[in-house]
């Protein structure tokens, strides 16, 4: 079964430096790291101490509020450092990798016979559970919940994002195993959005409801899919997963071994030969960054795509969920009369002496300059042009800013994640930090209502 979803509102941000569809194996990293900032709202509790020897897939720490939920090591070696910040908050955990990688083996469940409890226990123990995120709140799913549906978007529309159809080629078996396991955890359907007319690895899978999605970004965001298919009401839970993570989850289910390998797109205008690399969660970005060559010195390395990723550096580590590493120039320079002169080399959603509307196919080399200062909300009606959800974006943002819980609920905060506001943030004339506002709103709502 498949249905068509056509998104009209949105904006494709075409950037220079999309990854060429060739994959190289990255040199193996000396040090692997897990950044705790990848798991929003998690309170970790260490299981192993500094100096301990761990295998791939061996638990490093767990969720303090749900000790069965384990977070496992992406490498085998010595745990060399637990980096702590203010109030001894754990920031990252570093593992010095051995030459020979040993993997911890689990007994995988028999997917034909296993019940929900068995699958859940396996996913929690094997370190796969954190791949499952929930909405509302866009955090790691609570294993006690029974979601009304699970949503997966296999349509990549974000700028410079890895092409899922390429990176997941040949992984049908793992995907099917993951789907089979997940379907035991919900009585509802598993919705998968695939690009219309694309040759998706999901097209042959069973047990899913396929949606042929077309249109500009954010058509590929899972939030858009949810909003079109079955929006979330208060009290409801849905789970979301990214296709790359499904592969790891599926492989672990099939082999009993947590395999943190994934294909990552290295893209952006600062990369000399942008392409795909086979690497691992937590690997040093420099292990593949310099293999492709870097054009400039003053660069911003982003864990993720340019709209939603997090800032890192060449000696940073690949994030837990990331499938893209973007490298773009920093924009810390002044521009003479930048506010009034005609602009040909930047993207704009208006036509105010900006000329990106003349050639929508042109590829741009954008830097990290904000192109203006932070202001109060002034202009109206522009966000709606790039925001396909049935929500009033500016009103919701304002409700989050003045912390009116009732209004946040009524205007649809349960349905969104910060990433849904990445495009409105991109075009925002007042340069407001939309994703941060939404994140703070979600945190408040979760704290007050739960």
């Amino acid at each position: 079964m498949s249905t068509d979803i056509r998104i009209k509102k949105g904006l494709n941000i075409n950037l220079v430096g999309a990854a060429e569809p060739t994959t190289s194996r990255a040199v193996s990293s000396n040090v692997y790291a897990i950044n705790l900032s990848d798991f929003h709202g998690l309170v970790p509790k260490m299981i192993v101490r500094e100096g301990a020897e761990v295998k791939v897939g061996e638990p490093l720490f767990c969720n303090k509020n749900y000790p069965e939920m384990k977070f496992v090591s992406p490498a085998s070696g010595e745990l060399v450092e637990i980096q702590r910040g203010a109030r001894r908050k754990i920031l990252s955990i570093k593992i010095l990798a051995d030459k020979e990688q040993k993997t911890l083996e689990h007994q995988p469940p028999d997917l034909k016979k296993a019940d929900a409890a068995r699958v859940r226990a396996f996913l929690l123990e094997s370190g796969c559970w954190p791949f499952i995120k929930q909405r509302p709140y866009d955090v790691i799913a609570n294993p006690d919940d029974v979601p009304k549906a699970i949503f997966i978007s296999a349509y990549s529309t974000a700028p410079l994002a890895a092409d899922i159809n390429y990176t997941l080629k040949g992984k049908e078996k793992q995907l099917q195993a993951a789907i089979d396991a997940l379907s035991k955890l919900t009585p509802g359907p598993i919705h998968v959005g695939v690009g219309k007319g694309e040759n998706s690895p999901f097209s042959g899978l069973e047990g899913i409801t396929r949606h042929q999605v077309s249109g500009p970004h954010p058509a590929g965001l899972v939030g858009t899919l949810i909003n079109r298919v079955d929006p979330i009401s208060k009290g409801e839970r849905v789970w979301t997963l990214s296709p790359q993570d499904l592969v790891i989850l599926g492989e672990t289910l099939l082999t009993g071994k947590f395999n943190p390998e994934r294909v990552v797109a290295l893209a952006g205008s600062c990369v000399k030969s942008p392409k795909y690399y086979l690497t691992r969660i937590g690997a040093e970005i420099s292990t593949f960054l310099y293999a492709s060559g870097v054009e400039q010195k003053n660069i911003r390395v982003i864990n993720g795509d340019v709209l939603t990723g997090s800032k890192t550096s060449p000696d940073g580590h690949l994030g837990f969920y990331n499938t893209t590493v973007s490298v773009i120039p920093e924009g810390d320079d002044y521009e003479l009369f930048g506010w009034t002169r005609p602009v040909f080399n930047k993207i704009s959603s208006t036509r105010s002496l900006t000329f990106s509307w003349l050639n929508p196919k042109k590829k741009y080399d954008l830097d990290t300059n904000t192109n203006g200062e932070h202001r109060a909300f002034v202009v109206t009606g522009l966000y709606e042009e790039v925001f396909p959800l049935d929500i009033y974006p500016m009103q919701l943002l304002k409700a989050c800013m003045y912390k009116d819980l009732d209004e946040m609920e009524q205007l649809g905060l349960y349905e969104v994640a910060p990433e849904d506001f990445s495009l409105t943030e991109f075009i925002c004339i007042s340069k407001q930090p939309h994703q941060q506002i939404i994140r703070e709103g979600l945190d408040l709502l979760q704290k007050e209502i739960g």
Binding site: K148, L336, K346, V379, T380, L411
Partner: protein, 425 residues
């Protein structure tokens, strides 16, 4: 050359860092960011940003206003000399290149209008700077447009001290007390206009204020006068201006409101560049046409006779309301202010329509206020949040309806829930 630029850039950068955290920093920042877009980079969220900022947006409105300003120079001069000719018994006929676009007209207009522009900007920005320094926030761009709008919507001979008082009032009470640009409820330019109108009514209406020199010469043998189209109609008098004169703007009136043609061009420019809402403009035009048609219809039915004091304005052809007085200017440049207008698409239709509708109604029924448009817009500014509230309620209701059929499963490990489930199944 390029080296010179580099040092200026570096020097300003150093000054910026030296002033950081000091009271004067926002004032310096205002000039610095005027010259250079800042070196700020993204910290959270999206790492790249679109090209537009608020300065650019405001700049577009000013660009759309420039033709109107330029035209006002010529028209101010032309109306002055035409009134003198008329007073001496030899009314002149318009000749665009012969007696309109002349250096004489331009210079007279320039000398009269520029002081209004300069005072408006100097006082308004002065207030903005003071507030920015006291409150320690950046100087925001809102006044760049307000400062240009104000001189264009007042009579040309408005004394400068009056303008100073009005601008201070308008910026402080109309904007700063609410928290500055983006927070105000009423359109600041119209607050200034309303203040002038109610504080100094004799300077804002009558047949002596619309033409430069008429006030000074009143009571002398050289007396001149110039009545606006609406002024004639309000007194049930006929006027000599052709429809083309009214459309292109060769008539007396507030400084920049006369040329419907250039306002139309400005409006199209702002719609094309997506700076102003076409929804508000179109619906306001429809609203004014609707009200005008109703009045015409009432006259056609014979309910209002020629003896009525409303006859002149009521029988005025419905579409001509758009080219007389400040209606066009108000619709294009004032009603579309995004901060004080409706913020939802559907709300904009309602808001705009009512502005057009009420403008013509006030104009006709209250001849003391021939300029109904500024009152209509201020009134709708007040109602805009209410309109939006009801538009948004529709979206909220949809969500609440969905909530009734929400699919919530009991938690998997909740024993009681398991029991309940077992009982119900």
């Amino acid at each position: 050359m390029s080296e010179n630029k580099l040092t200026l850039k570096k020097r300003l950068h150093e000054i910026k860092h030296r002033l950081k955290g000091k009271k004067i920093a926002p004032a310096f920042g205002a000039f610095h960011t005027f010259l250079y877009t800042p070196d700020e980079t993204t910290h959270s969220g999206s790492h790249v940003r679109a090209a537009d900022d608020l300065k650019r947006t405001m700049n577009m409105v000013i660009l759309a206003l420039l033709p109107v300003l330029l035209f006002s120079f010529f028209n101010t001069g032309y109306q002055h000399f035409a009134a003198i000719d008329a007073a001496s018994g030899a009314p002149r006929t318009l000749d665009l290149f012969g007696n309109f676009l002349t250096w004489e007209n331009f210079w007279l207009g320039f000398v009269q209008v520029m002081p209004l522009v300069i005072i408006s900007y100097a006082v308004g920005l002065g207030v903005e700077f003071i507030f920015a320094i006291i409150k320690g926030h950046e100087v925001e761009e809102g006044y760049l447009v307000t400062g240009m709008l104000v001189p264009l919507i007042i009579p040309v001979d408005t004394p400068l001290w009056m303008l100073v008082v009005a601008v201070v009032f308008g910026v402080v009470i109309g904007k700063e007390v609410f928290g500055g640009t983006g927070m105000n409820i009423l359109n600041p330019a119209l607050t200034i206009r309303a203040f002038l109108f109610f504080a100094y009514p004799t300077w804002m209406s009558g047949d002596k204020v619309w033409v430069h020199g008429a006030v000074d010469r009143a009571g002398t043998p050289d007396a001149i006068s110039g009545e606006t189209v609406l002024g004639y109609l309000a007194q049930n008098n006929t006027f000599e201006y052709s429809t083309a004169d009214m459309f292109f703007g060769f008539i007396p009136g507030s400084v920049g409101e006369t040329s419907a043609f250039l306002i139309l061009l400005g409006g199209l420019f702002m719609i094309f560049s997506k700076i102003a809402s076409w929804r508000i403009m179109v619906s306001a035009v429809l609203g004014s046409l609707a009200m005008g048609l109703i009045f015409n219809w009432v006259v056609d039915l014979g309910w209002v006779g020629e003896s009525s004091r409303f006859y002149g304005l009521m029988s005025f052809e419905y579409w001509k309301h758009l080219i007389a007085g400040g209606l066009a200017f108000g619709i294009v440049y004032m009603a579309t202010d995004p901060v004080t207008g409706s913020q939802t698409h559907r709300g904009k239709w309602i808001y705009g329509f009512l502005i057009g509708f009420l403008s013509v109604m006030i104009r006709v029924f209250n001849p003391a206020y021939p300029e109904g448009v500024f009152l209509a817009i201020l009134l709708m500014n007040v109602f805009a949040p209410t309109i939006d509230h009801y538009v948004i309620r529709a979206n909220v209701k949809k969500r609440l309806k969905r909530f009734k059929t929400a699919t919530v499963y009991p938690q998997a490990t909740d024993d009681k829930a398991e029991q309940l489930k077992a009982e119900t199944v």
